[in-house]
């Protein structure tokens, strides 16, 4: 579904991605783990066209989308839940969800809203509350739900566990798994929380300073000595 071929991305003269290739197949959860500053968010943003890669190609369903404007890419069925949640703090939960649906067909708004409320019952309870008054976990739920409102075929999640308590992380990962299992949603999950992400994912990639360092199934990477030493020892 998504092919990334030898992508090089830069911020000015700083090279953030040094020839990254990976693929995400229909119906998979693929995770990308790596330390802070490895270039994970840059990769997600490159998929969405900003920054435009100087070299390499991004292909969605056989169609090249390299460097297209993000609003075109979103309309092709990609949803991007950016790092740090970025919900609209002064708007209510309901209004946040409405914003998620701007590119969607208004015909199925009610249906999509209902699906989000079923995935995250907390959001239904809090629908008139402003985003800024939600707890961190609720904000993350809202960020994912908002991304789902556009009925994407491919969901890009950037560190959904960032700054959340272990209990909440577990809850959120359960929902991610549920969306994938029940709706066959393809998910590309960027995480620093390697243990949970690898347990959840079908396949994984490990990124180190702008390059893919290891790849394999989730279970393989979890068992791999080097990966364990670098990302899993010392608690997760």
């Amino acid at each position: 579904m998504l092919e990334i071929e030898n992508v090089h991305s830069f911020y000015g003269s700083i090279q953030a991605l040094k020839g990254v290739s990976l693929s995400v197949e229909q119906g998979e959860i693929v995770t990308l783990i790596g330390a802070n500053g490895a270039g994970k968010s840059t990769l997600l943003m490159t998929i969405c066209g900003q920054p435009k890669p100087r070299e390499g190609r991004v292909i969605l369903d056989g169609q090249e989308i390299t460097g297209k404007p993000i609003y075109d890419i979103i309309r092709m069925g990609v949803a991007h839940s950016p790092e740090g949640r970025r919900i609209f703090p002064r708007m209510t939960v309901f209004e946040n969800l409405q914003m998620g649906a701007v590119t969607a067909n208004p015909e199925h708004f009610d249906q999509d809203l209902e699906r989000c409320y079923q995935l995250f019952p907390r959001l239904r309870e809090r629908r008139n509350q402003t985003g800024g008054t939600l707890s961190g976990g609720e904000q993350q739920m809202l960020a994912i739900a908002r991304a789902l409102m556009s009925r994407p075929r491919l969901l890009l999640l950037d560190e959904p566990s960032l700054g959340l308590a272990p209990m909440v992380v577990k809850q959120i990962f359960e929902v991610i798994e549920e969306i994938n299992r029940k709706e066959k949603m393809t998910i590309f999950l960027v995480e620093q929380n390697a243990y949970h992400a690898l347990k959840l994912a079908h396949r994984g990639y490990v990124m180190v300073t702008g390059e893919i360092w290891r790849t394999g199934t989730g279970a393989e990477l979890l068992a791999n000595e080097e990966v364990r030493a670098a990302y899993l020892e010392g608690g997760h």
Binding site: I74, M91, S135
Partner: protein, 461 residues
Amino acid sequence: MQEGQTSAGSLEFDIVAAGKEAILAALVALGLTIFMLGFRATDAPGGLQLATRFDWVAIGVLCVFAGRFLIALLRQKKEKSGSFLGKGKPAQKEQGTETASQISDRLKRVKRFSHLIGLAMVAAAIFLPLSPIADRYIVDTATLVVTYVMLGWGLNIVVGLAGLLDLGYVAFYAVGAYSYALISQYYGLSFWVCLPLAGLLAGTFGIILGFPVLRLRGDYLAIVTLGFGEIIRVVLINWYSLTGGPDGISGIDRPSFFGLPFARVAKDGETFHQFFGLDYSSMHRILFLYYLILIMALLTNWAVLRLRKLPIGRAWEALREDEIACRSLGINPTNTKLTAFAIGAMFGGFAGSFFATRQGFISPESFVFIESAVILAIVVLGGMGSQIGVVFASVVLIGGFEFFRDLDEFRMLAFGGAMVLIMVWRPKGLLSFREPTITMSADPPPGKDGQQSPRPVGDAA
């Protein structure tokens, strides 16, 4: 300081610290007042002479010293008595602990209340000229206030909703005014034909000016809009053949009541008072202008409230909240900002043509930066995005400005003082509560909830 904190509860003040603070403030005041109040150019037989007024400076400095000293003492007292400001605030208790139905109840109450206030204000505005206190001066001042309300509502789209700091809004006011004056002079078209044209032209200018600058953010955008405001004014001054330069344009067509002029006698046909069988009175035109701007302002308000509920209005607000999130949701920020800029400019243009027809004379002097600053102050003091807040702020600022007319040169001082006070008292503006565009009912069964929800129609981007 430390002594005071150890003996909590007792009311010992640190006079020295407060004194230091007050002296510092007094020095600043001295620096400011010595030239502005201390010296004065007077017209003497031998030419201009410099007169001094050091007693005024002394009064000013003493006032600042005493005021600052008192504030410092008050603050110390507050710190000692356990800072009651921060702790028990209801706003913080509310967070998260309110149930969904409590929230929607509260929202409903606020909504009903603001509706009532709004209706009361509209009624007051309609009946003001009929009340016994209404003389020519009052109605004129009210007309001015309502003009600024309309400008504030227009700018509110750009600043309050879309979050774009625009320091050159007066440019669009000027475009509207000159469009009306020029079109009506060159083509002899009536006010009612020129009004939409002036709005369209101002909106077009909004797009032309907006296009290159809207990639900029925050303070950079503010500076560039400031520049554009000045460019328009400078062009108006220097394009002598078209605009008359600093002389301005005079003899601008006055508005007519659907073709009936407000004059004692008409060159051809009937006048307003003849048609309605009234005695001639110059008040007719003044009342007509007042109701005209009132209707224009109310239409502006109606349009802004409608727009807020449409996808485009929601996109403006979302853009104000978080531009990166908007991008990731597939909103085109440039187009969204451009529409905000253009629509805001259009209302500025409407107000501008009203200004031109009311004055009968316009010149670049009416469109200086201070006008932009005043309109922006109205929006900010009103509480960024609050429609009723704009009304309050206009009444306070413009009404106050007129009220203090007798103070002459202290008018600006009173004006600045009022702004500082409002910002100290309500840092987020007079009314900072944001009313959601829609409130969902308290606890509906799942199916119904969906049916009541408005569908986002069309495409915001």
